[in-house]
């Protein structure tokens, strides 16, 4: 009798913790971001947004469990992004992956996740064709093709009739942004005078700018990451570009770093943005003040997109009723979330459905403001 009781007690002891673990074990979510190397600024901004949202989510928990975020560094390298996706899926058993940071990394890592039927959500991947990779590839970033036409319409309203285009020719983000910009400029009836390219790690753009200056376009559109855009603007001012030329940035220019690096040289540049730090709805203001308190600096667009994405994902897991990739995918498709970027739903093609939140910003005195 005693033996049986003991045995039963031992069995209960053995079973109960396992059951507890089942209910209480954290839900594993993965993220692949650039945390080292020359483009680490993007990944660290995204990480800050994700972590802030994660704290808020974990205050209440999801399905009675907490979420653990496993972040892998891709260093901006496609192969490393693929390895990170394999590791997150294989070893960490994540149910969803957020990231990677750059579109060309997404083109590498997206198929890996899609093949294993793990949802993967880009927060900053704006290139064309991302979500066409498969039914498990999502993005919360507005594709550039939705933002650029709004910016170009503003330039035309300011009197621009001719434009020269410049782009970084060695990353998918810049190249795809350029394709979009070129198509949108043609559609808008702008006369394209010149198309010049450069490498995203270049520091000298004098040859291209000298050529463009001789053609005297009304506007210069630049599709590149913020560092080369800053370099282009600094050098353009050295070469004598003045107020008569309107500089138009693609998505890469939409970062406070532009003002920090290029200073007054960036004054007058306009850029379309799905989000703005000074947008004065209560939810956005709460996000901005929390972010400042935690990170001692203003959030940028990348942090805001990541912040929303984490909430959208947590919301989807809660609605899915179980932390299973297949159910999360279906729940994501039915998302209707009101975040700091505005109202959010996915299109059937897993892209953001609405462009209502797009604003045009203008750089003045090293800071972006809403264009008048």
């Amino acid at each position: 009798m005693l033996r049986r009781t003991l045995l039963a007690a031992a069995m209960t002891l053995a079973v109960v913790p396992a059951a507890l673990a089942q209910a209480g074990a954290p839900i594993q979510i993965g993220a692949i971001e650039i945390l080292s190397g020359p483009n680490a600024a993007y990944g660290t901004a995204i990480r800050a947004g994700l972590e802030l949202a994660l704290e808020e989510v974990n205050e209440k928990g999801v399905l009675g469990r907490k979420i653990t975020l496993v972040i892998e560094d891709s260093a901006g390298n496609k192969d490393q992004a693929i390895n990170a996706a394999r590791k997150l899926i294989g070893r960490d058993k994540v149910v969803t992956i957020i990231g990677p940071t750059l579109s060309n990394e997404m083109f590498a890592a997206g198929p890996v996740a899609n093949e294993r039927k793990i949802p993967i959500i880009g927060t900053s991947t704006t290139a064309a064709g991302i979500t066409a990779m498969g039914p498990y590839v999502f993005r919360t970033a507005l594709p550039e093709s939705d933002v650029i036409p709004v910016t170009l319409a503003r330039a035309q309203a300011q009197g621009a009739k001719t434009i020269a285009l410049m782009y970084g020719n060695d990353d998918a983000f810049s190249k795809s942004g350029f394709d979009t910009m070129k198509a949108a400029a043609e559609k808008a009836g702008l006369n394209i005078l010149a198309i010049e390219s450069f490498g995203s790690k270049d520091t000298d753009f004098s040859a291209q700018l000298t050529k463009i200056r001789a053609l005297k376009p009304d506007a210069v559109g630049i599709s590149a990451l913020v560092e080369p855009v800053s370099g282009v603007l600094l050098q353009a001012r050295q070469l004598g570009f003045g107020k008569e030329t309107l500089f138009i940035g693609g998505n890469g220019s939409n970062s406070p770093k532009l003002g920090e690096i290029a200073g007054a040289a960036a004054d007058g540049l306009i850029v379309g943005s799905p989000w703005f730090v000074a947008k004065d709805d209560a939810q956005n203001q709460a996000f901005v003040s929390k972010f400042r308190a935690k990170n001692n600096k203003d959030p940028d667009q990348f942090s805001a997109q990541a912040y929303d994405c984490m909430h959208i994902l947590a919301d989807a897991i809660a609605r899915a009723g179980a932390a299973e990739p297949e159910k999360i995918r279906d729940a994501l498709l039915a998302t209707s979330y009101n975040g700091v970027m505005g109202p959010f739903t996915f299109s059937p093609g897993r892209d953001p459905a609405s462009t209502a939140g797009v604003v045009v910003l203008v750089m003045q005195g090293g800071k972006f403001g809403l264009a008048p």
């Binding site: 020719n169 010049e196 520091t203 291209q208 050529k211 370099g231 050295q238 920090e260």
Partner: protein, 292 residues
């Protein structure tokens, strides 16, 4: 436009030459393709940034930052390479040691300072541009041209007009024989590291000033061009580095300006291949590789 493009090319070439001077010296004498060189470049720029933020004028920050980078170079060269030099390790192991070393240094620096691009405080150097007809040149660009010319002159004078230069050249020629002749090769090696580090640091400050973008990885992005310049110029050849740097800059700018900006690198690197194909020891190199 042609005149401005020529000026653009010469200025770009001067930055390549400026970067390559210490690199080619280090290789020519110490016979190690020292990849940590790019780090000293970054370090010089960051030191100058820190000093100007403390309120030091640029004319004081420039030599101090160069000196600081020189000291850093001596220390890391000593740590990474002394042992390998003593056991006369093959060149490939030294190359890999410096590769590992420089990656560690870049990452450490990035995790300490962050990856952000920093700017020198506004007004450190006048932003005014000088106009000659239709051509514009900024103060920072004139500084780069002047510094490159001055440093090449000083280096040549040092190498060919002083006892230290003689010792360094002897060591470049044949280290064992130099040692037998009573030259303290350890000390000469340290001097070469120091001078190269100073040159890298000065280059970092001036190039950072011109493009106004200072970050831990700025040296790495210059390395590829640095390689082209020292190989085409002839390893260890100071005049060769100057000419090859200028040539590379002008070719890149002319290709971008008159052919296609997308072909800029293709043309530049095709020329590298063509040069090495016809002249394996560099455009200005003689049959004997090592000169300083």
């Amino acid at each position: 436009m042609l005149a401005q493009q020529l000026v653009n090319g010469v200025l770009l070439g001067a930055t390549y030459a400026l970067f390559a001077l210490g690199f080619t010296l280090m290789f020519g004498v110490l016979r190690v393709i020292n990849l940590t060189y790019g780090f000293y470049f970054s370090a010089g720029a960051l030191l100058a940034l820190w000093m100007t933020r403390l309120g030091l004028p640029i004319w004081a920050a420039l030599p101090l930052a160069a000196f600081g980078a020189g000291c850093i170079a001596v220390v890391f060269d000593w740590i990474l390479l002394t042992r390998l030099r003593r056991i006369q390790a093959p060149e490939l192991s030294s190359l890999m040691v410096t590769l590992g070393g420089v990656l560690a240094l870049y990452s450490a620096l990035t995790s300490w300072l962050g990856p952000d691009i920093r700017r020198l405080p506004p007004g450190v150097v006048s932003a005014d541009a000088f106009h000659v007809g239709d051509i514009r040149i900024t103060t920072a660009q004139i500084l780069i041209l002047a510094a490159t010319t001055l440093l090449v002159g000083a280096l040549l004078a040092l190498m060919h007009g002083t006892r230290l230069g003689l010792a360094i050249r002897a060591m470049a020629e044949k280290p064992d024989a130099a040692q037998l002749m009573g030259i303290d090769t350890g000390r000469a090696a340290a001097m070469v590291s120091f001078i190269s580090g100073c040159l890298a640091g000065a280059g970092g400050v001036l190039i950072g000033l011109n493009f106004n973008a200072i970050h831990p990885y700025m040296g790495e992005t210059m390395m590829l061009r640095g390689f082209v310049v020292i190989i085409v110029g002839g390893l260890g050849d100071i005049r060769g580095a100057l000419l090859a740097g200028l040539a590379l800059g002008v070719i890149e700018v002319m290709t971008a300006g008159y052919v296609s900006s997308g072909l800029k690198e293709a043309v530049a690197f095709l020329i590298l291949v063509a040069v090495l194909w016809t002249r394996p020891s560099g455009l200005f190199g003689r049959a004997v590789l090592r000169r300083a």
